[in-house]
């Protein structure tokens, strides 16, 4: 492979002036100095804007009567690459399957969002939320009740026919 040299298009030293360049630089910095719009986000006071495709804390969708939408099909623990979902399914009198145990370890989760993609009844979701600090490690294993309590907006899945989500 041949070595390629990039020749920078520098100004001719006979045409450059340190003084003029310095003065125009100072004018530029002064404009930024007095410009009231700053890029810093005042995070705790001003909430951060999350992308609609941000994949954060999980939540479980519920029916109107308060039951989880999950049918304990077992697809999400199967597809989960980090193996962070524990699911024990049960069956009620009418033969409806429901989750007896549904736990997600938020520490092991890599937030790939495959559980949401694979879910046939749109029950488990990743959400637009990230502020989930706790004092103990055990609190990071979210059980079914806690997943159902979450009320942040769910993540918008990427649509291949609409790549830029418009």
């Amino acid at each position: 492979m041949a070595i390629s040299v990039k020749v920078m298009n520098r100004p001719d030293p006979e045409d450059t002036s340190y003084l003029r360049a310095a003065l125009s630089g100072m004018a530029l910095t002064f404009r930024h100095l007095v410009n009231p719009s700053k890029v810093t986000q005042q995070y705790p006071e001003e909430p951060t804007d999350l992308s609609p495709r941000w994949r954060g804390t999980h939540r479980m969708e519920v029916h109107a009567d308060g039951r989880p939408k999950c049918v304990a099909c077992g697809l999400c623990p199967t597809v989960c690459p980090a193996n962070c979902i524990r699911l024990v399914g049960g069956e009620d009198d009418q033969g409806n399957r429901y989750p007896i145990v549904y736990e997600i370890d938020e520490f092991r989760c890599i937030f790939c969002g495959m559980c949401q993609e694979v879910c046939p009844v749109e029950a488990i979701h990743v959400g637009q939320h990230f502020e989930n600090a706790e004092y103990t490690r055990s609190r990071f294993v979210y059980d079914l009740d806690r997943l159902m309590e979450q009320d942040h907006p769910t993540t918008l899945l990427w649509d291949p026919s609409d790549p830029s989500s418009e």
């Binding site: 390629s4 020749v7 520098r10 030293p13 450059t16 002036s17 100072m26 530029l28 930024h32 100095l33």
Partner: protein
């Protein structure tokens, strides 16, 4: 009626103690808050917000920094020269704060016991004292760099000594014109002569003003002249091995130098505490506080008042803050010079220019005195015209771009020497 006599006796002792305490306290406070100002202004220039968490608008940030530095571990390198290592921060800190003692900060304050000058020490050697003490600071920097037994610190110290010695020459030579104008080295007299002239020395001595500002930047080791620190080349230069309060002492002294240099520039070239008009003029002339002379040379007595002192102090503070802002503004605009550029600017541009300008101003003053123009506004206007021409010539010369050639100029010279043809147009 308050007496127009200078304060004397035990009251003078009390007034002096109060002045020393208040001025030193305010100076240290200003230094602490200039660190905050630097961080806030640099943030604003970069479209950030800067420290605003500690207290309202981040105003308690210097306190938090101070507590942090006091509680931090003091490190002492095993191979360092211990005595000098400990001594160096003191050597830097003390002169940077002492210089302020000879700068007049406001019009004299009348009290029932007499008139109090708003200056700690109106010593007859004024400017010489400033030059002596500001050049003492280089010892601390060199000592700190050498005692650390660290090659980067040592290089920083070496650079500091070479740079500060080089620019002190231009600094002193640009001061000569001010001394020729004021006819005395006390800073109170420099202020008085500017009041008498009816214009601040920045106009009749415009080129000296520019040279002094540039030299002052180099003397305080501020960007674009911060060769002794040069964090991209020398870690942080002479204070690489320092931590906690010793490092803080170096920082305080840097900002102390900045405040003092700003106050000095304001005093020498922007009239010090003088405000436009003659209502605030005051000077001790043969034991009397005078405001000026009539056409026939009869003394006009000054009538000092506390509100005049307050107003003139406000003027002095505004002028000093302007230079502080200039320091910070330039630091966050211009990149650091290469070492040879610093030396070339100091010895090949500043020194000859300052020398030639001193001769020009000396000649002009001689001519004006021979012609018989009185020290006053027309005298100043004549000097302003001469200086304006000199400044325009200096700027024209600098504007040719031969002074500080960028990397392009260097590479082009090398290419022409070795005879390899460079592509005429740029391309990938």
């Amino acid at each position: 009626m308050e007496s127009l006599q200078p304060i004397s006796g035990p009251w003078a002792l009390i007034a002096m103690s109060l002045k020393v305490t208040i001025i030193f306290g305010v100076l240290v406070l200003v230094v602490a808050y200039s660190t905050l100002a630097e961080r806030r202004v640099s943030a604003w220039i970069q479209d950030r917000r800067g420290p605003n968490r500690v207290g309202p608008f981040g105003l308690l940030q210097p306190v938090a920094d101070g507590i942090k530095n006091l509680l931090k571990e003091e490190t002492l390198p095993a191979t360092a020269s211990k005595a000098f290592f400990v001594l160096a921060p003191m050597f830097v800190l003390v002169p940077s704060l002492m210089t302020f003692a000879v700068i007049p900060i406001a019009a004299p304050l009348p009290t029932p016991a007499g008139i109090v000058d708003m200056i700690i020490a109106d010593v007859p050697i004024g400017i010489l004292y400033v030059l002596a003490f500001s050049s003492l600071a280089v010892y601390g920097v060199v000592l700190g760099g050498w005692a650390s037994n660290n090659k980067y610190a040592f290089l920083g110290g070496l650079r500091a000594s070479a740079q500060m010695v080089s620019y002190e020459v231009a600094l002193g030579l640009s001061l000569i014109t001010v001394l020729m104008m004021s006819g005395n080295v006390t800073l109170t007299e420099v202020v008085w002569q500017q009041q008498q002239l009816g214009m601040w020395f920045a106009f009749p001595l415009s080129l000296a003003f520019i040279l002094f500002v540039i030299s002052a930047f180099a003397e305080t080791n501020r960007l674009p002249f911060d060769m002794p620190e040069a964090e991209s080349e020398l870690v942080t230069g002479y204070h690489t091995e320092y931590s906690a309060m010793k490092f803080s002492a170096f920082m305080i002294s840097e900002f102390g130098h900045m405040v003092t240099a700003s106050a000095l520039m304001a005093t020498l070239f922007l009239g010090g505490w003088d405000l436009p008009g003659t209502w605030d003029d005051a000077f001790w002339h043969e034991g009397q506080l005078i405001r000026g002379f009539t056409q026939d040379g009869v003394i006009v007595l000054a009538n000092p008042a506390w509100w005049k002192t307050v107003l003139t102090f406000g003027g002095f503070a505004i002028k000093t803050s302007f230079f502080m802002l200039l320091y910070i503004w330039i630091r966050w605009t211009l990149p650091r010079f290469r070492y040879d550029q610093v030396m070339a600017l100091g010895w090949k541009v500043m020194l000859p220019t300052a020398l030639a300008y001193a001769m020009l101003i000396g000649g002009t003053i001689l001519v004006l005195d021979e012609v018989g123009i009185r020290w006053g506004f027309s005298y100043g206007l004549a000097l302003t015209a001469v200086s304006g021409v000199a400044t325009a010539g200096f700027v024209f010369f600098l504007d040719r771009g031969r002074t500080i050639i960028g990397a392009a100029g260097q590479s082009r010279q090398k290419v022409s020497i070795t005879g390899i043809s460079q592509p005429a147009t740029a391309g990938d």
